[in-house]
């Protein structure tokens, strides 16, 4: 069992409490989880607790199951055995509406940054608000601030196909956090950007973590992990031989 204890201490109170999570409750909890696709078992005997406010990296070779792991985290997949609890609820017992509601508390940055190509960037960023029935107009100021924060103000009316890879990744991050979720799961958020841009994205994620968000970043960019370790107390998990391990000082 990998216990995440790196809830940041700040002025004596944990940021997790600030984030509104009940004390001691983990946001996401895996218990002897195994998952297999038709091709055979990909993950087995994975146990893990993500404490509120923790910062994790997830690494492993391509095809080792990082994306699969994240999908298990937000209820897009149900484990073949074992249990995954999302905010204390077993995903197996959640109905489709429960999953939809839980996803409003989890921001996901997809590996291939999925957008609706017929909507402008601004509308895409506001999509989580739209589908949850919140008037996007009410949050217009919020939206503007967020776009400024990821440096996309000038591109607000652009259509997704017109965006560069880095712009798409910043946009995906902005969309993931517009609902002010408790957890942010980012799948290769720096996959196709240069070093400088990846540093900027990392800084954004670290800032979010300082606000109390639980962060999990899947990446095989070891440079990124090293850069992060200087700024934040992060744990590195590695998928190796279908198991999840805590990576040591070799990084």
């Amino acid at each position: 069992m990998i216990e995440s204890t790196c809830a940041l201490r700040h002025n004596g109170e944990t940021l997790a409490e600030k984030a509104g999570n009940r004390k001691g409750r983990s946001v996401i909890e895996f218990e002897t989880v195994a998952h297999s696709y038709s091709g055979g078992e990909l993950l087995s005997d994975v146990s893990l607790r993500l404490a509120p406010g923790s910062f994790h990296f997830l690494t492993g070779p391509s095809g080792s199951g990082k994306t699969t792991f994240l999908k298990l985290c937000y209820g897009a997949l149900v484990p073949t055995s074992g249990s995954v609890r999302l905010f204390g609820e077993d995903v197996r017992t959640m109905n489709r509406d429960d999953i939809a509601l839980a996803r409003r508390r989890v921001g996901v940055v997809h590996q291939d940054c999925q957008f609706l190509d017929h909507l402008s960037l601004r509308e895409n960023l506001a999509l989580p608000l739209t589908v949850s029935g919140q008037e996007a107009l009410d949050d217009d100021a919020n939206l503007k601030e967020l776009m400024g924060w990821v440096g996309l103000t000038a591109r607000a009316e652009a259509m997704p196909p017109e965006l560069s890879g880095g712009e798409r990744q910043r946009a995906a991050l902005a969309r993931a956090i517009i609902m002010s979720p408790e957890v942010i799961l980012a799948d290769e958020p720096t996959g196709n950007v240069d070093w400088e841009m990846s540093q900027r994205l990392l800084t954004l994620l670290i800032e979010l973590n300082r606000m109390g968000k639980t962060i999990m970043i899947a990446t095989h960019d070891l440079g990124l992990i090293r850069a992060a370790k200087n700024q934040v107390q992060a744990r590195v998990l590695r998928i190796s031989g279908r198991r999840l391990q805590l990576a040591g000082a070799d990084l």
């Binding site: 999908k71 209820g75 897009a76 997949l77 489709r96 509406d97 939809a100 509601l101 996803r103 409003r104 996901v108 997809h110 999925q114 957008f115 609706l116 017929h118 909507l119 509308e123 999509l127 989580p128 739209t130 589908v131 949850s132 029935g133 996007a136 969309r175 609902m179």
Partner: protein
């Protein structure tokens, strides 16, 4: 929230949700077309049913359990033979009442043919007796034999009998009309289901993104249902209008009320036309809802 309010909300819709689902192209056009064609056909099937129904009702009402006995006899025997025939009829099983028509009634019957000026008194007219049957009816052949024996100048005309098959045919025609409407509705439902399925499949990626950012199934389904329902409503409105116009262009019903010329709608039946687009809307609503429910369940 009242049902009316929910319908109103559904019709007004959510502009944002509407934008989130991209234009559904040919599938929506297919829906408009099938709803329109269906409505056009339903107008005629409905007109057929209603006209056949009217015909069946009129014939069976007018002729229900009625028959006529006609007595042709030299005028000095007329009264005696009429009395004899009435006696026979009164003692016949299955006859409820029998009554000799008076001169005025006979004049009214003949007026359409010979005009009101006719001097009936001078003509050797047969005497008519109106016979009303009981529900069981009488045995026509038996009565004919008895009349032949006792009243030489009497002829029984039980027209209800020969018209009965016509009434039955009109009844079947009405049934066929309703059956056609049912089949048209089912075919339209199937067509819209296919169209909605195609639209949902074409938008699997859009739906996946919406699910990813926390959209409920009902939110996604609503966007599709609203689109297909409103288009079906519109298409069927146009189809109904064209069908009604075509019906109005048929030659108007003449006095004799031939079957074909009586094919239009009458009075309040015109209001039934308003139900056709509503029916199309309901069919589209249900079809899209089922299609959406099935598709969404297969996505994470």
């Amino acid at each position: 929230m009242s049902a009316f309010q929910s319908i109103l909300d559904f019709a007004i819709g959510d502009a944002q949700a509407e934008r989130a689902v991209p234009p559904t192209g040919f599938t929506v056009r297919l829906t408009v077309f099938s709803a329109g064609a269906m409505a056009f056909l339903v107008v005629f099937a409905l007109a057929l049913s209603l006209a056949a129904g009217r015909l069946a009702d009129r014939w069976s009402d007018e002729l229900a359990r009625s028959a006529t006995v006609r007595i042709s006899a030299p005028s000095e025997q007329m009264a005696a033979q009429t009395e004899a025939a009435l006696n026979v009829l009164r003692t016949t099983q299955g006859v409820q009442s029998a009554r000799a028509l008076n001169l005025q009634e006979q004049r009214d019957l003949l007026a359409p043919w010979f005009g009101p000026e006719l001097a009936l008194e001078t003509l050797p007219l047969p005497q008519m007796i109106e016979v009303i049957e009981t529900a069981q009816g009488f045995d026509g052949d038996g009565l004919r034999l008895r009349l032949a024996g006792e009243v030489p100048g009497a002829v029984l005309d039980n027209h209800a009998r020969w018209r009965a098959p016509l009434v039955a045919a009109a009844g079947s025609l009405r049934l066929l009309g309703w059956l056609s409407i049912l089949l048209i509705v089912l075919a339209t439902g199937a067509m819209i289901t296919l169209a909605a399925n195609a639209a949902l499949a074409a938008n699997a990626q859009v739906i996946a993104v919406m699910r990813l950012v926390g959209a409920r199934d009902s939110y996604i389904a609503q966007a599709f249902m609203r689109r297909f329902t409103l288009r079906a409503l519109g298409g069927a409105g146009v189809g109904t209008l064209l069908g009604a116009l075509a019906l109005m262009l048929l030659p108007s019903a003449s006095q004799e009320g031939g079957f074909l010329t009586g094919l239009g709608f009458q009075g309040a039946h015109w209001l039934l036309l308003l139900l056709i687009p509503v029916l199309a809307g309901v069919v589209a609503f249900i079809a899209t809802r089922l299609a959406a429910r099935n598709t969404l369940r297969s996505l994470t």
